[in-house]
C-alpha cells in the first residue's frame, strides 16, 4: 500500500478507536478490509482507501474501523483469569459486600460474548459459594456487529470447541442446525452495550471487577494510561482489574498494583490517608 494511503488509514483508526496501526500489522489489511472492498465494488484495499479519502463517508469510515478492531477470542481464554476470579475475587466480594448488594463486573472488550458468558457460567457453577450474592455484568465492545453476535449467543462448532469444556457445552448450549446457542438464562445478568473505550465513562456505572483483556495492546502509551486512570475512577477502592497476558499497568499508572503471584490480576492501590497518619 502506498505510504500516504497507509498513513491516512492509520490516522483514521487512531482517531476513531485509538488503535495503533503499524506497518507490521499491514498483513491484516487484506483479510480484514477485503470483504468491504468487494462490497464497495472496488478491486483492492488500496482502492478502498483511495475511495475513503475522496468520499469521507462516515459510515464507510466506521465500517473500516470496526473491521480492523474486531478480534478473535474464545471461551475461558487463558483459563487463569477465570480460576483467579473463582479463587480470589468471588470470596473477597462475598466477604466484603453487604448482603443484598449486587456486585458489578465490566467486560470492557467483550468481543463476541465469550468472556461474559464464561463468567456467567462460573457464577452459575459456583452459586453456593456466592451465598445469594448477585453479580451483574456489563459487556461492552466498540463494534455493534460483534455486540449483536454476543447478544444472540450463537456460536459455530469451531467456536464452542475452543476453551469450553465439553461438560459445560452440554450443560449450557443447545444445538440449532449447525450452530450452538447459549442457554438464555445465562444472559439474565448480562447487559450488552456498544461502547468505545475512548469515550467518557460517566454513563457506565461503577464496578467491583473490570476485565480489560487483550485490548490495551492496540493502544499507544498515552491512551493506555488514560484508559487505566479513568477506569480506576469507576472502580471500588478494593476493586479487581484483569488484564491480558501481554499487558501490564507497570510504567503506566499508580492507580493499580499487580497482585503478587497472580498473573494478570491487579488491585486498586490502597492509598495511605496522609491526614489521618499526621
Amino acid at each position: 500500500m502506498q505510504q500516504d494511503n497507509f498513513e491516512y488509514l492509520a490516522n483514521l483508526l487512531m482517531k476513531k478507536s485509538g488503535h495503533v496501526l503499524t506497518p507490521e500489522k499491514g498483513y491484516l489489511l487484506d483479510s480484514r478490509l477485503g470483504p468491504i472492498a468487494r462490497k464497495e465494488g472496488v478491486n483492492s484495499v488500496e482502492e478502498l482507501v483511495r475511495a475513503m479519502r475522496t468520499r469521507n463517508d462516515e459510515q464507510l469510515n466506521w465500517a473500516v474501523t470496526e473491521a480492523m478492531t474486531t478480534n478473535e477470542t474464545f471461551f475461558f481464554r487463558d483459563r487463569t483469569p477465570f480460576d483467579l476470579f473463582k479463587a480470589e475475587v468471588i470470596p473477597h466480594l462475598v466477604e466484603n459486600r453487604r448482603p443484598g448488594v449486587k456486585a458489578k463486573i465490566w467486560c470492557a472488550a467483550a468481543s463476541a460474548g465469550q468472556e461474559p458468558y464464561s463468567l456467567a457460567m462460573v457464577l452459575r457453577e459456583e452459586r453456593t459459594m456466592l451465598r445469594g450474592m448477585q453479580m451483574d455484568i456489563l459487556a461492552s465492545d466498540i463494534s455493534d456487529k460483534i455486540i449483536d453476535k454476543a447478544k444472540a449467543g450463537i456460536y459455530s462448532q469451531f467456536e464452542v470447541q475452543r476453551g469450553l469444556p465439553v461438560q459445560l457445552m452440554v450443560k449450557y448450549f443447545e444445538k440449532e442446525g449447525d450452530m450452538w446457542k447459549i442457554d438464555p438464562s445465562l444472559r439474565q445478568n448480562i447487559k450488552f452495550r456498544v461502547f468505545n473505550l475512548l469515550e467518557s465513562y460517566l454513563s457506565v456505572g461503577n464496578f467491583d471487577v473490570v476485565f480489560c483483556r487483550n485490548v490495551l495492546i492496540y493502544f499507544n502509551k498515552e491512551t493506555k494510561r488514560d484508559i487505566l486512570n479513568r477506569m480506576a475512577q469507576k472502580m471500588a477502592p478494593d476493586g479487581f482489574l484483569f488484564l491480558g497476558a501481554a499487558e501490564t499497568v507497570l510504567g503506566l499508572t499508580d492507580e493499580f498494583e499487580p497482585v503478587a503471584g497472580k498473573r494478570g490480576l491487579y488491585r486498586r492501590k490502597q492509598r495511605v490517608d496522609v491526614a489521618k497518619v499526621a
Partner: protein
C-alpha cells in the same frame, strides 16, 4: 513422555493427528478400529486415547465401554474425535466415560485446547 493412542480407521486422520500430537510431545501409537485398540491397551495402557466413533469391527463407543471395564482401563484419558456432532452422541460418550469430545473437523488449536482441558498438557 506421555503416550497417546490414536484410534481411527482413516490413515489420513491418524497421520494428521499423530503430527499434531507429536508436536505436543506425545509418543503416538495407532489402531485402525476398537478391537485393535483394545488389544493394544491390554498390552500397554496409554495415558491418552484419541478416539473416532464410526469404525469397522468395533466402533469407538463399544471400545470405550469395554476399556472402562478392563483392569487399569479407568486410567487413560479418552478424547472422542468424530464427525458425530449432535447432543445425543456427545452425552452418550460422556456417560460411557469419555473425558472430552472433539467434533471434526479439528485442528491443532482444538486438540491443544481440549487436551489442556483434561490436564494432559
Amino acid at each position: 513422555m506421555k503416550q497417546c493412542l490414536v484410534v481411527d480407521d482413516s490413515r489420513v486422520i491418524r497421520k494428521v493427528a499423530r503430527r499434531i500430537l507429536e508436536d505436543m510431545e506425545f509418543k503416538c501409537t495407532e489402531a485402525e478400529d476398537g478391537a485393535q485398540a483394545l488389544t493394544q491397551c491390554r498390552a500397554d495402557m496409554p495415558d491418552a486415547i484419541l478416539l473416532d466413533w464410526n469404525m469397522p469391527v468395533m466402533n469407538g463407543i463399544d471400545f470405550l465401554r469395554a476399556l472402562r471395564l478392563e483392569s487399569g482401563g479407568d486410567q487413560p484419558i479418552v478424547v472422542f474425535c468424530t464427525t458425530e456432532n449432535d447432543m445425543g452422541h456427545i452425552t452418550e460418550a460422556l456417560r460411557a466415560g469419555a473425558n472430552e469430545y472433539i467434533m471434526k473437523p479439528f485442528d491443532s488449536d482444538i486438540i491443544n485446547a481440549k487436551f489442556a482441558e483434561v490436564g494432559l498438557v
